[in-house]
């Protein structure tokens, strides 16, 4: 592994050291300094609408249950781990339950997390049951229907954490006439490679004309003329990248309020990255689940529009499937090139530095501390790594 200190893995002239993507030690440090300090996306409220509803997911790298209290309707985020011997207590993706019962020895918890019952409990004369509920993440909050949780008991609240990104999250929530819902399930991807490769790729317009050239040919065939995407990326001044601060970033395809987007049906007028592992791209919520330094899973939840016709929502699903997912005509090419081939190439460590300086000289400051750059510049990637470096360099 690199002997560089975390702060030295990114230079002032924006070279990145390859061990950021390959080192198990860096990954272990990320679990501590990124994922135990940040606000982490866990659910959209439409997934846990009724008391008793739950979904299982990951808060960063840790398995959790997001459950709406059967008694009080409060949304809690609970570690999915029995306090006895550690088994997950819930293995379904989603459902409704008043209790979670561990299959190993039958310990039972209310869906609020409290330990309800221990089987054959005469063997535990002194156990303090009140302290043995499923562990709750100390802070849970939501913005525009998106639920976040944090392992850190103290620190900035969610509003402050989101900062300039809050406006875009609220715009996402207003895509449908009556909002959005995540009721269509999710594409589940896995790849051999680091989780940050997916973040970078999500908001990288530089790659589109190259990796997705076959899809551009499909679009040309569909529309009878070459699509204007690459021309917009290179020349449209309304297509721009923005560092929103706090690690968040956005790529606007025109006015984010009105949506001057030339994408597919249901597509957002921007791509949005919320530090550390949530993205909005196309018509989807993209939740990135780091598994190991070289192993990642990704969930793509299509956003259906509340108050819109069934037919329109079905068309949103069809448009999503055409490009995204394991069999999509675009997303699979990202897996091949941006993840698999990069991961293989990064084994050549004799010269381990990479370039993330694209467009540095022409990024301009805007209001509220933001930085604005050209569409194909690496402004969003630098936004992410600026925050990453700060957190990684701080003493635990």
């Amino acid at each position: 592994m690199s002997t560089l200190a975390p702060a030295d893995l990114i230079t002032d002239d924006w070279r990145l050291h390859g061990s950021i993507y390959t080192s198990p030690e860096i990954f272990a440090l990320e679990r501590e300094r990124i994922f135990r300090t940040s606000w982490l996306y866990v659910a959209h409220e439409s997934e846990v609408r009724e008391p008793g509803d739950y979904k299982t997911t990951y808060a960063g790298t840790q398995p959790v249950i997001v459950a709406r209290g059967a008694d009080d309707g409060e949304v809690r985020v609970l570690l999915n781990r029995c306090r006895h011997r550690g088994s997950i207590v819930c293995h379904d993706d989603a459902g409704s339950a008043n209790y979670f019962r561990c299959p190993y020895h039958g310990w039972t918890y209310r869906n609020s997390g409290e330990l309800r019952g221990i089987t054959y409990d005469d063997a535990y004369p002194h156990l303090d049951r009140a302290t043995l509920g499923l562990v709750r993440l100390p802070r849970v909050d939501s913005c525009a229907g998106f639920v976040f949780a944090s392992f850190a008991p103290d620190g900035p609240g969610l509003d402050e954490y989101l900062g300039n990104a809050r406006r875009y999250l609220e715009l996402v929530a207003r895509q449908g006439p009556e909002g959005i819902r995540l009721s269509a399930g999710a594409h589940k991807l896995r790849y051999r490679g680091n989780w940050k490769l997916q973040i970078e790729n999500t908001i990288d317009n530089y790659h589109f004309g190259f990796v997705h050239r076959s899809f551009l040919e499909v679009l040309a065939d569909r529309m009878g003329q070459p699509p204007p995407i690459v021309d917009n990326i290179l020349h449209n001044p309304e297509w721009r990248t923005i560092d929103l601060g706090n690690g968040h970033s956005v790529h606007e395809f025109g006015d984010p309020e009105t949506g001057n987007n030339q994408g597919q049906l249901g597509d957002l007028p921007f791509n949005l990255i919320l530090f550390p592992n949530l993205c909005f791209v196309g018509a989807q919520v993209r939740h990135i689940l780091p598994k190991a330094a070289d192993r990642t899973e990704v969930r793509l939840y299509p956003m259906l529009h509340e108050g819109e016709s069934e037919e329109m929502n079905a068309r949103i699903l069809r448009a999503h499937e055409g490009f995204y997912g394991p069999s999509g005509m675009g997303g699979a090419d990202d897996i091949e090139v941006a993840f698999d081939r990069v991961t293989e190439g990064l084994q050549a460590i004799e010269e381990d530095w990479l370039q993330m300086s694209r467009g540095m000289h022409r990024e301009q400051p805007g209001e509220n501390g933001i930085l604005i750059g050209h569409a194909a510049d690496e402004v969003p990637q630098r936004a992410f790594y600026r925050r990453w470096r700060k957190l990684m360099a701080e003493a635990a």
């Binding site: 009721s183 269509a184 399930g185 999710a186 594409h187 589940k188 991807l189 896995r190 790849y191 990796v211 050239r213 076959s214 899809f215 040919e217 499909v218 065939d221 569909r222 899973e297 299509p302 259906l304 069934e310 929502n313 079905a314 699903l317 069809r318 999503h320 499937e321 055409g322 997912g325 394991p326 069999s327 005509m329 699979a332 090419d333 897996i335 091949e336 090139v337 698999d340």
Partner: protein, 152 residues
């Protein structure tokens, strides 16, 4: 040609990468569908693939473009069709159920896919069949998958 013979022919075209000929086996109103998970409801649930004939054409066009990196190098596949059961369909149609195993080798990895397949076949005047619907129910459709861009 029996319906089973037709399925063997169809999958042989895929293994031999004769995709344009494979495409010609589908009717103009065809559906090629790979649902995800047990809830099969394309109006409300996302699928891995839900191609009408137009999109199926695009899929084949993409593979032939020379720039479909997820198929560069291409998957080598071996389709095994078994347990063929021919049932009655609507007028002029046959519902053919089969079990499909596909071994796929790409780069240094071999993957195995399995599923139940339903073909809705229409008979054509020359004595053969065309595919109006092909539904591939993979047993692995709801687990995290990598690059699955070869054709079933």
């Amino acid at each position: 040609m029996t319906p089973a013979d037709f399925l063997y022919h169809e999958t042989a075209l895929l293994d031999e990468r004769r995709f344009e000929e494979w495409l010609e086996l589908f009717t103009d109103d065809a559906l090629y569908w790979i649902p995800q998970g047990d809830e099969e409801d394309p109006a409300h649930r996302v699928s891995l693939v839900y191609d009408d004939r137009r999109r199926l054409h695009e899929r084949v066009l993409r593979l032939a473009s020379g720039f479909a990196y997820s198929q560069d190098p291409p998957s080598k596949t071996c389709h095994l069709v078994g347990n063929v059961q021919v049932g009655e369909g609507a007028e002029g149609e046959l519902e053919v159920a089969s079990t499909l195993l596909v071994a796929e080798v790409r780069r240094a990895t071999q993957n195995l896919f399995a599923g139940r397949v339903t073909h809705t076949l229409v008979t054509v005047p020359d004595g053969g069949y065309r595919i109006r619907r092909k539904i591939v129910r993979l047993v692995s459709s709801d687990i995290p998958l990598g690059n699955v861009t070869f054709l079933f």
